[in-house]
């Protein structure tokens, strides 16, 4: 997964403040949490930063795709292996003999399931990364062989 420093390296690093942030590092952090978009940095659109601009646009997927818990599934990378479906602690608790045992989910309460070869989200509010008592669970991220799942 990308981090703020990686993004910072691709920014102009001039701290010009045109984006409204105090420093380029602050802009990088805001970009990572999808508080701003790549286009909010005017110097980045200049010709000399063209390559960096393209790279950043590739790394930073629009926040519109993210669920309420901040989860983004890169459907073009997902192969539908179902590792996340089986490893997800919420799925195991809700459906121990279906999804938790490697079989097809038998409960409507699971939060991840594979449909048409790609993982789909449902019941997002049950995700451990959601709500007041959220924790940084990474069960679905570390088990993904193609790094198709990301949280912002």
């Amino acid at each position: 997964m990308t981090n703020a420093l990686e993004i910072y390296q691709l920014l102009p690093k001039t701290n010009c403040k045109q984006c409204g942030k105090a420093t380029c590092m602050a802009f990088a952090a805001a970009l990572l949490s999808r508080g701003v978009v790549v286009d909010d940095c005017p110097p980045l659109k200049e010709d000399k930063f063209k390559e960096n601009y393209e790279k950043l646009s590739e790394i930073i997927t629009p926040a519109g795709e993210a669920s309420e818990s901040g989860m983004i599934v890169h459907t073009e990378k997902c192969i539908g292996c179902g590792n996340c479906v089986v490893a997800c602690p919420v799925n195991v608790a809700e459906d121990p003999y279906g999804a938790g045992s490697g079989k097809a989910p038998t409960s409507d309460n699971v939060i991840l399931r594979v449909e048409d070869g790609v993982v789909r989200l449902s019941n997002v509010s049950q995700c451990r990364r959601f709500g007041k008592n959220k924790i940084l669970c990474n069960g679905c991220i570390v088990t993904c062989p193609t790094k198709a799942i990301e949280f912002v």
Binding site: A87, V92, S101, G117, V118
Partner: protein
């Protein structure tokens, strides 16, 4: 929630928990299957057409022409089988007997040696259900199931909770990957990934065996004795271990003996099993059916009641030495999968293909006969990669004939 489950015929894993949605009698949505399975179960992008030479033909004429080619040929070869139902395979063996043909399947350049060793009881094996319920050490050697069998880890080996493995993968199971490159599966295995140079598998097999016998394991490549001992100790402590053998290991071994030796050694000190990572959904079925009939798993030649067997009967050798004068290819695309220099020999002989999809081989064939896709359009039985027979039923109706029926009709014409 009561669901009807189907079996996926996308690979040798034969997942039996697939849900489908139909629109106008066609599969529109496939749930729980991986991308590979979805691609197999939905219609082919280009279905095969019924053709003789380059002209469209009726099914009846194509079958008669196919039978004529086989009858007139002195030594035809029947090849493919990995994507056919068990009944179709049995029928194909009958056709081979009738026409004194060579018979070979894709296992001759795939998992053949391993399946043979298992059928001859040289190697201990187990079922995938046992792996799910009991296994604590899972070794992927030369295999990358994340790409070849996407649901292998999630449905059976590493991630699911099993009867004796209730605490999940972090605590209860260890997945080890031994490969020449950091594959997607190796990424999941994390620090349990052992990278070796190509062709070094035999050396590592022997080194691990040495480590298990208390000797200092040495290899010529940059893996220290400490690291190998660490691996050997992990295997030694297994309560129920399984080695999933991929093509990477099979291809790098000249013969299977070093693997058999390691398995014997492992079973002296611990409890280990082996499962071949069979690719096509019923390749192992073909091995089983031919083994029952002849005592060999592949590469045979029928002459009257006699059966000849040997490396010279493999499809690659037959084409290379130009021994055959016609080919019946069932559910396989050798023109795409064999090396170009070998595959081009197929251009010089009359080829009959029986396939649901339009492939390079079917485009170049003299006779192309379309069939229903097993798994979605016709039912049957198949043998899973661990040797368990799985029955499956059709999801949709079709007017296309199943491969078993087409072979029966060809047999009738003969």
């Amino acid at each position: 929630m009561e669901n009807e489950y189907y079996v996926c015929t996308g690979c040798g894993l034969l997942c039996d928990d697939i849900e489908v949605e139909l629109v106008d009698g066609k599969v529109s949505k496939v749930n729980n299957a991986c991308l590979k399975g979805v691609a197999r179960l939905k219609e082919c992008e280009r279905p095969a057409e019924c053709r003789i030479d380059d002209a469209p033909a009726s099914l009846e004429d194509a079958i008669i022409e196919a039978a004529r080619i086989l009858k007139e040929a002195d030594s035809p070869v029947i090849f493919g089988m990995g994507n056919s139902t068990s009944q179709a395979q049995k029928n194909a063996i009958e056709v081979a007997k009738k026409t004194d043909a060579y018979f070979d399947d894709t296992s001759s350049f795939c998992q053949g040696p391993v399946v043979e060793a298992i059928l001859e009881n040289k190697i201990r094996t187990c079922t995938l259900d046992e792996v799910r319920d009991k296994a604590d050490i899972i070794v992927y050697w030369g295999a990358d199931p994340s790409n070849s069998h996407p649901r292998h880890l999630s449905k059976y080996t590493y991630f699911p909770r099993g009867k004796e493995r209730q605490r999940g993968w972090e605590e209860d199971r260890t997945a080890i990957c031994i490969d020449v490159r950091k594959s997607d599966t190796a990424t999941i295995c994390g620090d349990k990934f052992y990278q070796i140079p190509p062709q070094a598998d035999e050396e590592l097999l022997n080194a691990i065996a040495n480590g298990l016998s208390g000797k200092v394991p040495k290899v010529s490549f940059g893996m220290g004795p400490k690291k190998i001992l660490e691996l050997a100790n992990m295997l030694k402590k297994a309560e129920f271990g399984v080695i999933c053998v991929g093509l990477g290991l099979v291809y790098s071994l000249e013969e299977i003996e070093p693997l058999v030796r390691l398995m014997d050694k492992l079973n002296e000190v611990s409890n280990f099993h082996l499962i071949p990572m069979v690719g096509q959904y019923n390749m192992r079925g073909s091995n089983h059916n031919l083994y029952e009939e002849t005592g060999y798993i592949n590469r045979v030649k029928f002459t009257g009641n006699d059966v000849e067997h040997g490396a010279h009967c493999s499809v690659v050798e037959l084409l290379r030495t130009r021994t055959v004068d016609a080919a019946l290819i069932i559910g396989s695309d050798p023109m795409s999968s064999l090396p170009g220099s070998i595959a081009k020999e197929l251009l010089d002989i009359p080829v009959i293909t029986i396939d649901p999809c339009n492939t390079l081989t079917s485009r170049k064939a003299k006779v192309s006969i379309p069939t229903a896709t097993a798994g979605s359009e016709c039912g049957g039985t198949a043998v899973r990669m661990d040797g368990v027979e799985v029955e499956f039923k059709a999801m949709t109706e079709t007017d296309r004939m199943c491969d078993a029926e087409i072979l029966e009709r060809i047999m009738g014409e003969l």
